[in-house]
């Protein structure tokens, strides 16, 4: 029998999501990079909304928004992020923030429930300036030197300048208060098509894969594209293309069943049509929830680089620039989400790993953490056509609010 005290207000959730969608709208999605004006306005929107849930709102020195409660009892931290990838979807981030806000509105006002839901919007989950800067700041993994070095990957603006433009320069960063929270719960769109193709409503996340990222640099010899004979060339761009193809041929023989790898960016220097590229670089990423698989693939990558260097025409270096251990989600939180799904989603849930990274993996380092997924139409993500059915959005909110109640001991 569903607990009617957990009833989320579906219309209110939709209204909030559409209000955020209107800030920085791009086609049917949004363009809301970290520390852009639409991002700033979205943070201010949340600051204005949090008092509706009995929370005191503040933005800290890295752009995290917190809504804190004075209600007696255990606190559950819930949230997600408000910035977007460039020209991307409207729900990636805001969905989890609005669910957290809704849970706080429903549960914090309930005198029969001890404790409260506190809300967080973590800054720069999408990695415009780094990766998980907001949540890593909160758990104490981010130094001032990291912030000094961070730059916007799109336009090169320093993070210090961006913080100053936001009016946040010199403001203190909030870090976790030990013992304050019983855990962290986050909702997110699935970003794949597992739920949709299985006609399911809720994903109960079991683990979040680790992300290992590499900068692979090729050094050849810049020269004139008309006067340099083919046999004499040291074309860094061609060496890079061959490396990409070799990865495609050799990784399948060494990967695990769920491993994915991606070359997301390629840059040839100087990038002119009449110049043989002297240097080339690629950003390469591997994801898996098994560190042994990653270690094997990284070995293979370095072996392949050695083979290129042995040929002697171009040289290549492989630098790991991000190491992300996989994070396990708390089993009690998984049970709570599954139980809530039985009551509010007809049991149409599935336990599944997350192939995407989320702030929950950072929070999992210091407290129990859990995640809930709602379906993505066509599995599309990181594109402005990303969407979720209206009914699925409401169902997800109901399950989220009830899962929060269960975790708080209601």
């Amino acid at each position: 029998m569903p607990d009617t005290r957990s009833r989320a207000d579906g219309a209110r959730v939709h209204a909030d999501l559409h209000a955020l969608r209107a800030i920085g709208a791009y086609k049917t999605g949004v363009h809301k990079p970290t520390f852009s004006e639409p991002h700033r306005q979205s943070l201010e929107w949340l600051v204005r909304k949090l008092p509706e849930a009995g929370l005191t709102a503040a933005i800290d020195g890295i752009g995290n928004v917190f809504g804190t409660s004075t209600k007696h009892g255990p606190n559950l931290l819930a949230g997600s992020h408000l910035e977007s990838q460039n020209y991307a979807g409207w729900l990636d981030g805001p969905l989890g923030v609005v669910y957290a806000l809704e849970a706080a509105r429903v549960l914090n006002a309930d005198p029969s429930l001890k404790g409260a839901v506190e809300v967080a919007a973590w800054c720069d989950e999408e990695g415009h300036f780094g990766h998980f800067l907001g949540s890593r700041s909160y758990v104490g993994q981010l130094t001032e030197a990291d912030i000094d070095a961070a730059r916007d990957r799109t336009d090169g603006r320093t993070m210090r300048d961006a913080l100053a433009d936001m009016g946040l320069a010199g403001r203190a960063r909030v870090t976790a208060e030990p013992g304050r929270h019983v855990g962290y719960l986050e909702a997110h769109i699935e970003q794949g098509d597992t739920l949709e193709s299985g006609h399911l409503a809720i994903g109960v996340v079991t683990s979040i894969v680790g992300i290992w990222q590499y900068q692979i640099n090729f050094l050849g010899e810049q020269n004139h594209a008309g006067t340099t004979r083919m046999a004499a060339r040291k074309d860094a761009g061609l060496a890079l293309a061959k490396f990409c193809v070799a990865i495609d041929e050799r990784f399948p023989g060494a990967c695990g069943p769920r491993t994915v790898w991606t070359t997301g960016r390629i840059t040839l220097d100087p990038g002119a049509p009449s110049i043989i590229p002297g240097t080339a670089e690629m950003l390469f990423q591997i994801r898996d929830d098994d560190p042994a698989v990653i270690a094997r693939l990284e070995d293979l990558l370095r072996t392949m680089a050695s083979e290129v260097n042995a040929q002697g025409r171009c040289s290549v270096t492989v630098e790991r620039i991000r190491t992300g251990a996989p994070a396990m989600m708390n089993s009690g939180f998984q049970d709570a989400i599954e139980a809530a799904s039985k009551d509010f989603a007809g049991g149409r849930s599935l336990r599944m790993p997350s192939g995407a990274g989320h702030d929950a993996q950072t929070l999992a380092a210091i407290m129990p953490a859990g995640m809930l997924f709602v379906p993505s139409i066509g599995g599309i993500s990181h594109h402005w056509t990303e969407n979720t059915a209206d009914d699925d959005i409401v169902t997800g909110a109901q399950v989220f609010v009830d899962a929060c109640r269960r975790i708080l001991g209601g």
Copy 2:
């Protein structure tokens, strides 16, 4: 017996080249993109210098500088360009302009010689906004619509805005006056190592290769780099890398003995580390002096694209964006350069084709044209380390001045 009336002033030539090098200096080279401030200053420098050669100076509406003579008799047009590739060499362009200036200074003041050398600095030979925009404007191949559409390939600034910033908006463009010139002569660094490795001083250019350029676009499906299974991906970047490698494997079987081809730029969209590229594009160039070879290679390129499309995962389109017929250099001009080399370079000259494009190929469409090369140290070009030995610079100037005298009938 060398004609002493052709004596160039080597110190003056060096002084002029170093004056131009100081404008927009970058390491031992220059950074002087078309319509940048250093480019503007270089044009102004030439305008101030031309009166030394009895020439009236003017900049036209596309940024070409002309020095025109009122001396009686035939006119020979001579010149090159003053802008550079980004962070490139100091002699690529300025050498030919300073040689032309020097020839005009020596010969126009000589009452025993009928006729004059007129000087041109063609705008944007390096193709920041298009290709050979200045010389193509002069020969009547450039429309106002072409200018409307042109943008800086580095920062996207429109050519109209750039012309306005230069104070050239609305100014008339100068086009060739039929019958005014007996021909066009241009000097340039070789940009290869043929002269250096043969211990030669002068290249007598026989032909300039044609450049065919292609934009090759790949369409896949943008998606999340963590949640999209490898088997389900339509990775436009990987399709592009495979295409580059296939070109490298298949072109050698269809090319001519001197064909060269280059992928100078690759762009993945959106270019983020956690997003599978939905689209990717490459700028691809083929050069040869035999149109039949080019036609065969273009056929192969289109066949390869059809094969990719038949596989169905990603689609690819091949668009030819530049068609450059090879240009033959005038045989009388070749003879004049060779004869001058006998007198002033000990006969250390070689007849050779140019693998690089030059404004002379544009001028060759409307008048006899010739080109002279000086050696490039190590064959390095389009890089700030480009250089030529001081003595070779002086020898080239002597040969150039004497070749101009011979063409003018002295």
